[in-house]
C-alpha cells in the first residue's frame, strides 16, 4: 500500500512539473506530512521539528535500535537522510554516494549512485570532505558533489536527469552544502573561504539544470544583486557600491563570503534566507574595511535573487566567525504583537532575532556567557554604530596586529556554534542549540594569494575556557528575551544537528557517538545510546507502517575531527600543567553508519 502511495506521489510530481505550477506546492504539502522528511531541515522554515509523538518523554527511555546501515565511507558524515513514502535516500561524504533504500522491502538498496570525481578535489576541501545532504523536488533527488557539480537523479531509478557545474575546484571552489528546492528552482551555495573564492548562491532550473540567477556575497551591485535604493540594511537603503566601498582595491574578487550553510525559505514572503562566511584572508590587517557582504544575513527574492535586505553581523572579521549558520523562521508574539521572526545562532557567539520581513534587529545576545570579543551589539537606532558589535580591544586581532598573538579569545574560530543546525519547537517556543565551548589564541600574519592554494594567514590554538574542561553545551534558548533557559554540559563540542518533536523530546548526537534524548522543557537526559562512531550528522524522524523512527548518521570527522581528534592544546602546558585536553581519538574512530531507532513492538 505504501508503495502505491509513493508511486502516486511521484507521478503527481511529474504532472505538476508539466504545467507552469511549480514543485513548490507539492513540496510544501509533503513537508507538512510528518511521516516524511523531504528537505534537509524537514521544512522550509528550518525548524527541524516533527509533529510525530509516538516516541515521547514517557517512553523514550525504552528506545532501541531497529536497524543499521553502513555507508562504506570513512570520512565525516554530516547531514541526514531524506524519507519520502517508502523510500529513504542516504548520502555520504566524498565520493558522495547516494543510496535509495526501500523501507518496505527490508531496507533493500533499490539503486545506488556514485559519481566519478577527480580526487584532487579532496585536499582543497577545508576541514574534511563532508556533504550536508540531499534535496528533493519534481521527482528528482538533488546531489551537490564535492567537485561542485549539481546533479539531479531520477528518484525512482537513480538515472542522471541533468548535471550543472557550479564552480571550479582548481580555484579552491568546492561543494559541501545541501541544495534547497524552491518553486521551479534549485538553490545552492559554494565553499572555499580559505582559498580566496568569491562566493555566491546560484539558482538552477529544476527541470533543465540551466542557471537562472547567481548572487555573489562580495562585488559590484549587479553581481551581488542589490538595488542601492531598494535593498535595505537596518531600515536604510544600502546605497551604491555597498560592497566595493568596503574593500581595498579589487580584494573583493578573492573576498570569500562563502555560502556553505543552510538555506531557508518563506513561501508567503517569497524570500530565501542564508548567511555568508568569512572574508579571505584570516589576517584582518591585509583587508582593511568592513568587507561587505561577508559575515552577513541575506534575504533574497526567490525568483530573481535580488536582495530585499541584508545585515552584516561581524564587520571586518578578525576571528573567522563565518555567518553561514542556519536561519530558523518562526511566527511568534513579541510584546503582544505577531511577528514573523528569523532566529540565527552565529559563529560569533551572538544569537540574533530579527523581523524576517523588514530585517529589523530585535534581539542580539550572547548564547554562551564566555563570549568575550564583544561587549554586545549597539541596539540604539539613533547611534551611528547601530547594529554593530562593540569589539573589546584586548581580544581584537586587528588591534593586536600582525605577528602578535592575541590570547584568550572566546569563542574560538569554530564559533559558539558551527553549521550543526538547531531545532525550534512551536510548543515550547524554545530553540535547542548544539554549541561549542572553546576559546583560542589567534596570531595573524601576512600571506600571499595563489589561486587554488590555501589563503589562511593566521596561527590558531584552541582550548576550553579557563578553569573549565568541557568543550560543549546543549542549550535551550528563548529568542524573545535572548536568554538561556537550560544548558547541559558536554565533554566535547556538540557537532550534531538537533531534532525537536511533539513528543516533548529533543534529540542530538555527541562527538563520542551518543544519540541522546532530553526532555524539551527541562533538558533532563532521558535516553542515550552509543552509536559506532562520533556523530556530526543531524537527527531525523519519520513514520513508516504506523511506527515512528529516529535516524542519525554517525561517522566522526569534519572540523571537529580535525580540531579535537588529538585533543586541544593546553595553553598552560609550558607552565607545568599536565597534558592536553581530552582527545576525541580516545573515544571513537572513523566509519559511516546510519542507526535507526524505534520503540519495542
Amino acid at each position: 500500500m505504501r508503495k502505491v502511495l509513493l508511486a502516486t506521489c511521484l507521478s503527481s510530481a511529474a504532472a505538476l512539473a508539466v504545467g507552469s505550477a511549480s514543485a513548490n506546492d507539492e513540496l510544501i504539502k509533503m513537508s507538512q506530512n510528518p511521516k516524511d522528511w523531504v528537505m534537509p531541515a524537514g521544512d522550509y522554515a528550518n525548524t527541524r521539528y516533527s509533529k510525530l509523538n509516538q516516541i515521547n518523554a514517557q517512553n523514550v527511555g525504552k528506545l532501541q535500535v531497529a536497524w543499521t546501515f553502513s555507508t562504506g565511507v570513512l570520512r565525516g558524515h554530516e547531514g541526514g537522510p531524506l524519507i519520502i513514502g517508502n523510500m529513504m535516500y542516504v548520502h555520504t561524504p566524498f565520493p558522495n554516494k547516494v543510496y535509495a533504500i526501500d523501507l518496505s522491502q527490508e531496507n533493500k538498496i533499490v539503486w545506488k549512485y556514485e559519481p566519478k570525481q577527480d580526487p584532487n578535489v579532496i585536499p582543497v576541501m577545508c576541514c574534511d570532505t563532508v556533504n550536508r545532504g540531499l534535496s528533493y523536488g519534481d521527482g528528482k533527488i538533488i546531489l551537490h558533489q564535492a567537485d561542485t557539480n549539481l546533479v539531479a537523479l531520477d528518484a525512482k531509478t537513480g538515472q542522471v536527469a541533468w548535471s550543472a557545474t557550479n564552480g571550479n575546484p582548481a580555484k579552491g571552489e568546492t561543494g559541501t552544502s545541501a541544495a534547497l528546492v524552491v518553486k521551479d528552482k534549485v538553490l545552492v551555495g559554494i565553499s572555499g573561504g580559505e582559498f580566496g573564492v568569491q562566493c555566491h548562491v546560484t539558482a538552477y532550473d529544476l527541470k533543465s539544470g540551466k542557471q537562472v540567477w547567481r548572487a555573489y556575497s562580495t562585488g559590484p551591485d549587479d553581481q551581488i544583486k542589490v538595488d542601492p535604493a531598494k535593498t535595505m540594511s537596518l531600515g536604510k537603503p544600502v546605497g551604491p557600491d555597498s560592497s566595493l566601498k568596503t574593500w581595498q582595491g579589487d580584494q573583493w574578487k578573492i573576498g570569500g563570503g562563502c555560502t556553505w550553510g543552510w538555506l531557508s525559505y518563506d513561501p508567503g514572503l517569497n524570500l530565501v534566507y542564508y548567511g555568508s562566511g568569512n572574508p579571505s584572508t584570516w589576517n584582518p590587517k591585509q583587508r582593511p574595511g568592513d568587507n561587505k557582504w561577508s559575515m552577513a544575513i541575506f534575504a533574497r527574492d526567490a525568483d530573481t535573487g535580488m536582495a530585499k535586505w541584508v545585515y552584516q553581523m561581524t564587520p571586518h572579521d578578525e576571528w573567522d566567525y563565518d555567518g553561514v549558520n542556519e536561519m530558523i523562521l518562526s511566527d511568534q508574539q513579541i510584546n503582544g504583537q505577531n511577528r514573523k521572526l528569523l532566529t540565527h545562532f552565529d559563529r560569533n557567539g551572538l544569537a540574533y532575532t530579527m523581523d524576517r520581513e523588514s530585517g529589523e534587529l530585535l534581539v542580539a545576545e550572547k548564547y554562551d556567557p564566555k563570549v568575550n570579543w564583544t561587549s554586545g551589539v549597539d541596539m540604539d537606532k539613533n547611534s551611528p554604530t547601530y547594529g554593530r558589535p562593540k569589539v573589546v580591544a584586548q581580544f581584537s586581532t586587528e588591534h593586536g596586529g600582525e605577528d602578535k598573538n592575541t590570547k584568550g579569545i572566546c569563542p574560538a574560530a569554530l564559533g559558539t556554534k558551527d553549521q550543526q543546525p538547531a531545532a525550534y519547537s512551536p510548543e515550547t517556543q524554545l530553540f535547542y542549540v548544539p554549541t561549542n565551548h572553546v576559546c583560542m589564541d589567534y596570531e595573524p600574519f601576512k600571506v600571499s594569494y595563489t589561486a587554488g592554494q590555501p589563503y589562511v594567514g593566521a596561527t590558531l590554538s584552541m582550548y576550553p575556557p579557563q578553569g573549565e574542561s568541557h568543550m560543549g553545551n546543549f542549550i535551550a534558548w528563548d529568542n524573545k528575551t535572548g536568554k538561556i533557559v537550560w544548558s547541559n554540559k558536554e565533554q566535547f563540542s556538540v557537532w550534531s544537528g538537533a531534532l525537536a518533536t511533539a513528543g516533548g523530546v529533543v534529540f542530538y548526537g555527541t562527538l563520542e557517538g551518543y544519540l541522546k534524548a532530553v526532555d524539551a522543557k527541562s533538558g533532563k537526559e532521558l535516553y542515550k545510546f552509543k552509536t559506532p562512531s562520533g556523530i556530526i550528522g543531524n537527527v531525523t524522524t519519520y513514520e513508516n507502517n504506523g511506527k515512528q523512527y529516529v535516524a542519525v548518521l554517525s561517522g566522526v570527522g569534519g572540523w571537529a575531527g580535525i580540531g579535537l581528534a588529538a585533543g586541544l592544546t593546553d595553553p598552560t602546558a609550558g607552565l607545568g600543567a599536565v597534558g592536553g585536553y581530552a582527545a576525541l581519538s580516545n573515544y571513537t574512530a572513523l566509519g559511516g553508519t546510519l542507526t535507526v531507532f524505534s520503540l519495542p513492538n
Binding site: 570513512l74 570520512r75 565525516g76 566524498f94 565520493p95 580526487p119 584532487n120 579532496i122 585536499p123 582543497v124 577545508c126 576541514c127 574534511d128 580559505e194 584570516w282 598573538n405 589564541d441 596570531e443 600574519f445 601576512k446 600571506v447 600571499s448 595563489t450 592554494q453 590555501p454 589563503y455 589562511v456 594567514g457 593566521a458 596561527t459 590558531l460 590554538s461 584552541m462 566522526v556 570527522g557 575531527g561 580535525i562 580540531g563 581528534a565 588529538a566 585533543g567 586541544l568 592544546t569 593546553d570 595553553p571 602546558a573 609550558g574 592536553g580 581519538s585 572513523l590
Partner: protein, 174 residues
C-alpha cells in the same frame, strides 16, 4: 619565486634517488652547526632544532610552529598530532628523510584505494608554505623527538637579517 623553484628542483632529484620507500628517519638530531640565517644543522647537514635548557627555541622551530598552525593544522591537527582526516606529522617525520619531507610538501602525495582516499596537495607554488619548508621540518622534528611539546614557544632566538632577506626574496617582497 625562482629561488623556491630551484630549491624544489634540487630536492626532487634527492627524492628520486632516495626514494620514498626508504622509510629512514633523520637520525641523531643534535645540532652541531649554525648557519648565518639562524638555521641549525645536525652532523649530516640536515636542518635540526636547538632548544636551550631555559626553553628558548631556535628561530626555525618558532617559525615552523607558526606556519604549521596556519597551513598544516587544518588537515593534520594541532601540534602535529594528526586528525580524523590526515596523519600525525610528528610521527610521519620519524620514518622520512628530510628530502622525502620536502618532496612531499612540494609535490603532494596520493594514497587512494577502495578503502580510503587520502590526497595531499602540492604546495610547491604556494609561497606561504614553500618558503617555510625548513621551518616546518625543524618544528616537526622537534615534535617527533618530544624535544618540544604541545605548546607555543614562549622564548625564541631572534630572527636574523639573513633570514629576513631570504624570506622577502622568496615571498616576492620588494
Amino acid at each position: 619565486m625562482r629561488k623556491i623553484c630551484s630549491v624544489i628542483a634540487v630536492m626532487m632529484i634527492f627524492v628520486a634517488s632516495g626514494g620514498i620507500a626508504a622509510a629512514d628517519g633523520p637520525g641523531d638530531p643534535t645540532a652541531v652547526k649554525k648557519e648565518d640565517d639562524g638555521k641549525w644543522l645536525d652532523k649530516d647537514g640536515t636542518p635540526t632544532y636547538k632548544i636551550s635548557a631555559d626553553g628558548t627555541v631556535d628561530w626555525f622551530t618558532y617559525s615552523g610552529y607558526r606556519r604549521y598552525h596556519s597551513d598544516c593544522h587544518v588537515c593534520h591537527g594541532p601540534d602535529g598530532m594528526g586528525s580524523t582526516y590526515a596523519p600525525a606529522l610528528k610521527d610521519s617525520v620519524k620514518s622520512m628523510s628530510y628530502g622525502d619531507f620536502i618532496g612531499v610538501i612540494a609535490s603532494g602525495r596520493k594514497n587512494i584505494s577502495t578503502a580510503q582516499e587520502n590526497v595531499m596537495p602540492a604546495f610547491g607554488d604556494n609561497p606561504n608554505v614553500a618558503c617555510y619548508m625548513d621551518d616546518l621540518y625543524v618544528y616537526l622534528r622537534a615534535r617527533s623527538d618530544e624535544a618540544w611539546g604541545r605548546q607555543r614557544p614562549a622564548k625564541k632566538e631572534d630572527k636574523t637579517k639573513d633570514y629576513t632577506a631570504a624570506e622577502d626574496a622568496c615571498m616576492g617582497k620588494k
